[in-house]
């Protein structure tokens, strides 16, 4: 009996989560990386605490961006290396379902997890509690968008050695507006002005990417699979 697209989606998500949870230490890595980068900065700034609060949104967002990005590299690569990507491509489901499921699962274990720990980091960086709602919402939208942009980049670089650096080269420029508006929203929330405009923009960006990126990523993957 043929398997429907929704069922296939669920199965691939389960597969990805299963692979992640098989190595709980690695599951925690993007998180820990996020924590480390956010602590590195204050160190690099030689403890000028007054500066710290002003730059908190920037540090938070850059750390989120880099830690999603680092793990994005393996989105398709490990499957391509051991030949399972070919098997997935031949499963009769259409590559888009696979791509959507894999990207969504990736977001669950990195982006969503990162959003969950961000209050801790935010507190450490001196972001006031009143700004947390905006921070969480903007990070949620931002990381989801980023996962999608990253899926395109990962699809394009999957066949290449040391593709991870090329991946950042491709994704980071695309992610710049995200960073500007995301950090901007948090910044405004901290200073108490309305962040609604920036949040709307982030939401629009997210919807836009989520509708178009799956197809772009599928095309990218199909190109590199040949």
């Amino acid at each position: 009996m043929r398997v429907g697209a929704f069922e296939a989606f669920g199965l691939v998500v389960r597969r990805e989560l299963c692979l992640s949870f098989r190595r709980p230490d690695q599951l925690l890595q993007p998180l820990v990386f996020f924590l480390i980068v956010t602590t590195l900065f204050p160190l690099g700034l030689s403890l000028q605490l007054s500066l710290l609060r002003d730059m908190a949104p920037g540090v938070l967002w850059v750390a989120a961006l880099l830690s999603s990005l680092l793990s994005l590299d393996s989105l398709f690569k490990s499957d391509a290396d051991d030949g399972t990507l070919e098997q997935l491509a031949l499963c009769g489901q259409g590559l888009t379902v696979i791509v959507v499921a894999k990207t969504f699962a990736h977001w669950l274990v990195t982006g969503a997890a990162l959003v969950l720990v961000s209050p801790v980091v935010g507190t450490a960086l001196g972001i006031p509690g009143a700004a947390f709602a905006t921070m969480l919402l903007s990070l949620g939208l931002g990381t989801l968008t980023l996962s999608w942009l990253g899926a395109i980049g990962a699809g394009l670089t999957v066949g290449l050695k040391r593709g991870n650096v090329l991946l950042s080269l491709i994704v980071l420029p695309l992610a710049m507006p995200l960073l500007i508006f995301g950090a901007g929203a948090t910044d405004r929330a901290i200073s108490g002005t309305s962040a609604v405009g920036a949040l709307y923009f982030l939401a629009a960006l997210c919807v836009f990417t989520c509708t178009l990126a799956p197809f772009a990523a599928t095309v990218a993957l199909r190109i590199t699979l040949e």
């Binding site: 395109i152 394009l156 066949g159 090329l166 080269l169 491709i170 772009a216 190109i223």
Partner: protein, 244 residues
């Protein structure tokens, strides 16, 4: 209609057409740029605020526009090649990328040289400036993605896709001055209604723009010929063309 289109896009035809067009483009470019330079640098009146420093505009603005124009043409050529499987589209995109990147560098350099007297700094993290820098990164990304593939046809298609995706940056660069309050000058030339620039300053600028476009066309044709030859090196017509 379609067959005609495909014939137009066949390598030998493109090769010949590029060879025929290049000298025309180059000649016209020399005339327009020559007029623009002489009129702009010598005859146009100095700006009432900036004095002679404003004359950098005759290089800065055209090269900035061309950096966007070249990107857009590269992405469109790639899109056409990707959708209709026309190989010459990839050749056009591949030939276009380095030229566009050079214009971007030129815009960045002239801009920061201009920024020194105007804003007191070579570089500021202003939206227009930053998004132009991102454009440079995109060019670099597209070029290195293309060359990163062992198999040229895959590299072509991957680069075309990235080019299309990166197209979102072009309106961002253009509207950045209006969306964010910016250090950078707003739209001066293309503003609807009466341009706030006197004709004596405007005409040389428009001439320079036209000249830069022609120059882009000329270099594109020349690079395209090399690109086509390299891509078609196995084909019979290339061997015959080289022999004769």
């Amino acid at each position: 209609m379609w067959t005609w289109f495909y014939k137009l896009a066949s390598p030998p035809y493109v090769y010949a057409a590029a060879a025929a067009l290049a000298p025309w483009f180059l000649g016209l470019a020399a005339i327009t740029v020559g007029y623009g330079l002489v009129d702009g640098l010598v005859y146009a009146p100095p700006d009432y605020q900036q004095g002679d420093a404003f004359r950098i505009i005759y290089v800065h603005a055209p090269s900035a526009w061309l950096s966007l124009f070249a990107y857009t043409s590269m992405a469109l050529a790639g899109a056409i090649a990707l959708v209709w499987r026309i190989k010459m589209g990839h050749a056009v995109a591949a030939a276009s990328a380095p030229i566009g990147a050079s214009f971007t560098v030129l815009a960045l350099v002239t801009g920061s040289l201009w920024g020194r007297p105007m804003w007191g700094t070579y570089w500021a993290w202003d939206p227009r400036l930053t998004s132009e820098l991102i454009l440079l990164f995109l060019y670099v990304g597209v070029m290195s993605l293309r060359s990163a593939f062992e198999d040229p046809s895959r590299g072509d298609r991957a680069a075309a896709l990235l080019g299309i995706v990166g197209l979102v940056n072009v309106p961002i660069i253009h509207y950045s001055v209006t969306w964010w309050n910016s250090l950078h000058q707003g739209a001066t030339v293309a503003k609807l209604g009466k341009p706030p620039m006197p004709g004596s300053m405007l005409w040389p600028l428009l001439s320079m723009l036209l000249g830069f476009m022609l120059f882009y066309g000329a270099v594109l044709c020349m690079r395209l010929r090399g690109e086509v030859l390299n891509r078609e090196r196995q084909a019979k017509w290339v061997r015959e063309a080289i022999k004769s």
